[in-house]
Amino acid sequence: MINERVLNTLIALLLLVVPLFAWQLDEPFIITLATKAAILALAGVGLNLALGYGGLVSFGHATFFGLGGYTMGILASHAQSFTPIMESPFLIDGTKSMPIIWLVAIVISAFVAFIIGLLSLRTTGVYFIMVTLAFGQMLYYFSISWPAYGGEDGLSIYVRNEFPGLNTLDPIQFFGICYVLLMVVIFFMSKLNSSSFGLALNSARQNSERVQTVGISPFRLQLVAFTISGAVTGLAGALFADLNRFISPTMFSWHTSGEIMVFIILGGAARLYGPVAGAAIFILLEHVLGGLSEFWHIFLGAILLLVVLFAKGGLIGSVSKKAASHG
């Protein structure tokens, strides 16, 4: 049993040290795996705010992951072909600049999360799960049937986007960008959770009537949490698209929503580093089991089932002594 704070530091250091070693040993593939883990962790950190802290079981976070990805794809493909996105009423050009892409991805995902939240937060419990799932599917089918950006086949971006002062095609530098973003967002989340907003959100999950009686609207708290949550997952989607230099409707699929949830559960829901631990375990399993058998999803399913049935609280819940703050 170890203190959660110590465990968090260990996880953060491990995610940093492994790719640095790989860089020294000239193993770019391992750096790429670590980058993928960091990006998926970021998507999970986004969902964790809604699901873990807010108690909002969103089964549609692939929506925001996909929106982030398509934001990157659309902006970069127009920059790549030197055609403007639109000319009237005003000119919008594509761009290859990462910071601008991130900003647009965050704004668009936040906006869509706000709209979806506005509609789906009218419902609770199992309705909420299904409604978020359905909105996710709506965008999935839209991305398949909209031919302009590849439709079902997806879209390749040939060169990774640019970040001022860095060579983003160098794996370790791109990892650095993703890692720093992840740490910044986690720091922001830790501040948010201990702020009055975070405390109220936690109380709204545990007992929304009580929150209401002291004059705070649970709906507004949850809407803000859902919006921020979507924005963070959208940012992760933009990075993921940049990692693969490829976007496809798969980013919107409900399997993606399910997987983002799986990161949280493997690591521990409502734990600051839960999604980081979970995403790292997921990547490790994918790599190790995927090497053993092409049907590795059977084993993943079995492990997930065992964790849900017998190890509530995931990795962090099992090894850290502090009782889960969830439920």
Binding site: F59, T123, G125, V131, I144, H297, I298, L305, V308, G327
Partner: protein
């Protein structure tokens, strides 16, 4: 557009809706009685289709194939309920979603491992192939008409089972108060297994019936599962009547939307743009329908308001 084509598409919409009902009825029953949200329902649909395709290729009999689909899905359902799912009834929805998501991974990959990734085919039986002539010279597929008939038969059967029989009384009592009917000496866990097997069998039947129109392959259950979710959200979770009305609404909206929207858009746009806009919009239409229903009635058309 000709009236004949419109009527034909209308029947297709009904046929699609009736299929969705077979899925949605099981889902909504399982949720209503056990409080379980079962994502693996689509896997039972797939298991039914694979069982039917296997039996049909071994025996050549379509009737045996259909029976096999129901039995295989019901037995699988009962085993899964008995060994895993009953531990989840008292858990929160998040645990149920994750555990049944895990089951999907296991079932889909397991089926791929056993049968490979190539689709299997299930032939429509001779007696039901070809077309029939309906009122006013409308030619319509005999098989699709049979599906509509079977679906309506199941709907009536379910209604009678639940409202007129002793088992149905227990099921309704289970929805209202599970401790109380346990205290009255009814073996509630046995009832749960039967209800789950019933829902699973219906999903298996749907899989086999659709398998003869489309192909039988891994992952075939997932799009249908999500549509069935949309159906029960529209109809109100736990309500069989809601599932029936919701199924027909979704089936008709989806089918007619795909036919009518391109025509509507081509009246004021040039045709290639109209096709692409209309196809994107029609794929989203049922979700817009769902959003609309939720705006007016957050717990569905026939759902009980959340307590």
């Amino acid at each position: 557009m000709s009236t004949i084509l419109l009527i034909e598409q209308f029947l297709n919409g009904i046929q699609f809706g009736v299929m969705l009902f077979l899925m949605a009825a099981g889902l909504t029953l399982i949720f209503g009685v056990m409080g379980l949200i079962n994502l693996a329902h689509g896997s039972l649909y797939m298991i039914g289709a694979f069982a039917a395709a296997t039996v049909a290729s071994l025996t050549g009999s379509f009737l045996l194939a259909i029976i096999a689909s129901v039995v295989a899905a019901a037995v699988f359902g009962a085993i899964v309920e008995f060994s895993i799912l009953r531990r989840l009834y008292d858990r929160d929805h998040l645990d149920q979603v994750l555990a049944t998501f895990a089951l999907i991974l296991i079932f889909s990959e397991g089926t791929r491992w056993l049968f490979g990734s190539f689709p299997l085919y299930l032939d429509v039986p001779e007696a039901l192939s070809g077309t029939v002539v309906l009122l006013g010279d409308i030619q319509y597929s005999r098989y699709r008409l049979a599906i509509i008939f079977i679906g309506l038969l199941v709907a009536v059967g379910l209604y009678l089972l639940i409202s007129k029989t002793r088992v149905g009384m227990r099921i309704r009592a289970g929805e209202n108060d599970r401790e109380m009917i346990g205290a009255l000496g009814i073996d509630i866990s046995k009832l749960y297994t039967w209800v789950f097997a019933l829902g699973a069998g219906l999903a298996g039947l749907a899989g086999a019936l659709v398998g003869a129109i489309q192909s039988v392959q891994v992952g075939m259950g997932e799009p249908v599962l999500i549509l069935a979710f949309v159906v029960i959200v529209i109809g109100g979770i736990g309500s069989i009547k809601g599932a029936f009305i919701g199924s027909l609404l979704v089936g008709l909206t989806d089918t007619l939307g795909r036919v009518l929207l391109p025509i509507a858009f081509s009246t004021f746009m040039e045709s290639s743009a109209a096709t692409s806009v209309a196809s994107s919009l029609s794929s989203m239409l049922i979700y817009l329908l769902m959003a609309g229903v939720l705006l007016l009635k957050p717990s569905g058309l026939f759902g009980r308001a959340p307590s």
